[in-house]
């Protein structure tokens, strides 16, 4: 009985949680993620990921995308995922990305999956990463140093769901 009322109370609490509190959770990121949080409230562009680089759509920075992923066993990556993982029942896919200015970019996703940015056939090392599970919007962010004007491949894998939201944003450089 005691447990029952406890759970019911907690259920109420969750239902009553105003969006402001959920957004507050995003403040737990080690950087200011206001740009991502804001993008996550915009209308997403719908995109179906490619199963190969050849059929991968090109995406832009500073936009929210709603991705339709593919069963991972049907995906042929440009380079093997840089981290070995079981792919049982997993979803994945390939995107292409090109940025106009070189520098640090944050790739933000709303659910757990593995990300690789491939340049010249090799995965780039992530410059940093951070995750905040209760953030309503971007739940995991990986930072990469991206070169300008070259086509990069964004490889997604090990996702538990067939849908995901994603943004790529330039890290604001401090102005003197």
């Amino acid at each position: 009985m005691k447990l029952h009322s406890c759970l019911a109370a907690a259920g109420l609490l969750m239902a009553a949680l105003p969006p402001a509190i959920a957004a507050d959770a995003c403040a737990a990121y080690k950087w200011d993620v206001t740009p991502e949080v804001r993008l996550y409230t915009t209308q997403p562009g719908s995109v179906t990921v490619g199963a190969t680089v050849a059929d991968a759509p090109l995406i832009d920075a500073a936009r929210l995308y709603a991705l339709q992923l593919k069963p991972q066993e049907s995906v042929q990556y440009a380079a093997p995922p840089s981290k070995k993982m079981l792919a049982d029942g997993a979803y994945g896919g390939v995107l292409r990305l090109k940025v106009a200015a070189a520098g640090q970019y944050r790739v933000a996703i709303d659910s757990g999956f593995w990300l690789d940015v491939i340049h010249d056939g090799k995965p780039l090392d992530a410059a940093d990463f951070n995750g905040v599970r209760d953030c309503d919007g971007p739940r995991k962010i990986v930072v990469y140093e991206l070169p300008a004007d070259v086509e990069l491949t964004l490889q997604l894998g090990a996702a538990a769901t067939a849908q995901a939201k994603l943004t790529v944003t330039a890290v604001a450089t401090a102005t003197p």
Binding site: L3, A10, A28, K30, L86, D88, G89, N130, A158, A160
Partner: protein
């Protein structure tokens, strides 16, 4: 087979070390036959895999997470096998942080689960704040340490009793676990016998499943007797996954929703998978010291200030095909490290202050990524801070360190940072 006597000068290269050119593919410390290599690779894939909710279509081998948990993969806390990073600034909890609960059993179980699957409620939140402690070396140079304080909030199952022990822990590295497991307990007893009364450690005896005494080796207080024991605990408590040694996850009898949640198999982690995880860890090498590592004058100071009486540079291991020597810089014994490092009860009183001498091998690799989080809760932002927290049985060594001229202190710290 050439058994080496302890301290044998012919033993120059310690076993177990290997270069880590690619962090995401940590190497093995010995040559593996094909079968073992396959298990090692499978183990690495499992280690890295995020588990998913029971019943996820086609995810049979990796489903069963939670419903209460702290992280969804081993890798989420031990990134690429390494220790957790600290949080040098601010009040964020490190990613690989776990609040264990000791003392008389409570409704919350052994680990305070800060995450829950949809439809379940996490046990609550851990809030961290810091207070500063400062002081000076005898030569006048100042230092500042930070002392963590934890508060558990949003408690889903009611308040914790005052005698519950808060056990904040950060994930240590998994590297070299197989070698630590292969140190004969007789060797540990021999080291203990040679330690002076003031620093003599205690053997962490625990019972195995058959009730036989076995030496605890893993965890900050050496509670786990084997890699399998540590792995099955982590699966059950940190991830909510059952396995043969732990057929129940960390749901207590009062947590009905947790107990009644759908299972991802029985057990959720097969023996094949558990075995592969163990094979991985039994063979993971320890990162080699960087080339051109700090001068050995640091080693002399380490010896002279008394660090080496606990952080032993030479341990014998039984490799199965002979005896080798490792430079793990631990004695696998428990030492009283004083009140400053002790766990506290909810009512603020001091609980355990005994810790396993932390192995210092792989320190260079651990520090390379920045954001050092040393000691059992990740409070120390540098080797220097870790040393300044040493008290209790390590007080004399700390004082000897403090009395060194500044340049020698630096040499000693640099050397420890190069291990």
């Amino acid at each position: 087979m050439t058994p080496h006597a302890q301290g044998d000068s012919a033993v120059s290269a310690a076993a177990g070390r290997a270069p880590f050119p690619e962090r995401r593919s940590p190497p093995a410390w010995r040559d593996l036959d094909t079968e073992t290599r396959e298990a090692f690779d499978l183990g690495l894939a499992i280690f890295n895999t995020s588990w998913v909710i029971a019943g996820t279509p086609n995810a049979q081998r990796r489903d069963g997470l939670g419903p209460l948990f702290v992280a969804a993969s081993c890798d989420g806390c031990h990134n690429n096998g390494a220790r957790g990073r600290g949080e040098p600034v601010g009040n964020r909890l490190p990613n690989s942080f776990v609040m264990q609960l000791g003392g008389p059993p409570t409704v919350y179980g052994a680990v305070f689960a800060t995450q829950a699957l949809p439809g379940h409620v996490s046990e609550g939140r851990v809030e961290l704040s810091w207070s500063a402690r400062d002081g000076r070396y005898p030569d006048g140079e100042g230092w500042e340490l930070r002392l963590p304080e934890y508060r558990l909030t949003q408690l889903a199952f009611g308040p914790l009793p005052g005698d519950a022990v808060l056990q904040p822990r950060i994930a240590p590295a998994t590297f070299g676990s197989g070698l630590l497991e292969a140190v004969p307990h007789e060797a540990v007893m021999r080291i203990r016998a040679l330690q002076s009364h003031a620093v003599r450690g205690e053997l962490a005896w625990h019972e195995d499943a058959d009730g036989k005494p076995r030496l605890g080796r893993f965890g900050w207080q050496a509670q786990a007797i084997s890699i399998e024991d540590q792995t099955a605990r982590a699966l059950a408590r940190e991830m909510g996954l059952t396995s043969r040694p732990h057929p129940q996850d960390d749901c207590t009898t009062q947590q009905a929703a947790c107990r009644n949640a759908p299972q991802g198999g029985s057990p959720e982690v097969s023996d094949e998978f558990l075995g592969a995880l163990v094979t991985l860890q039994a063979n993971l090498a320890v990162p080699a010291r960087p080339a051109g590592a700090a001068a050995d004058s640091g080693a002399v100071l380490f010896e002279r200030t008394g660090c080496a009486s606990c952080h032993q540079s030479v341990l014998p291991v039984d490799t199965g095909s002979g005896t080798a020597i490792i430079d793990a810089y631990t004695d696998l014994l428990l030492h009283d490290m004083g009140e400053g490092l002790a766990d506290r009860r909810v009512d603020g009183s001091i609980a355990g202050s005994q810790w396993r001498t932390a192995p210092l091998w792989g320190m260079a690799h651990a520090l390379a990524g920045g954001d050092a989080g040393l000691l059992h809760d990740g409070r120390a932002r540098s080797v220097e801070e870790a040393v300044l927290w040493h008290d209790g049985q390590a007080r004399d060594a700390r004082r000897a360190f403090e009395r060194l001229p500044a340049a020698e202190r630096r040499q000693l710290l640099d050397w420890v940072g190069s291990l």
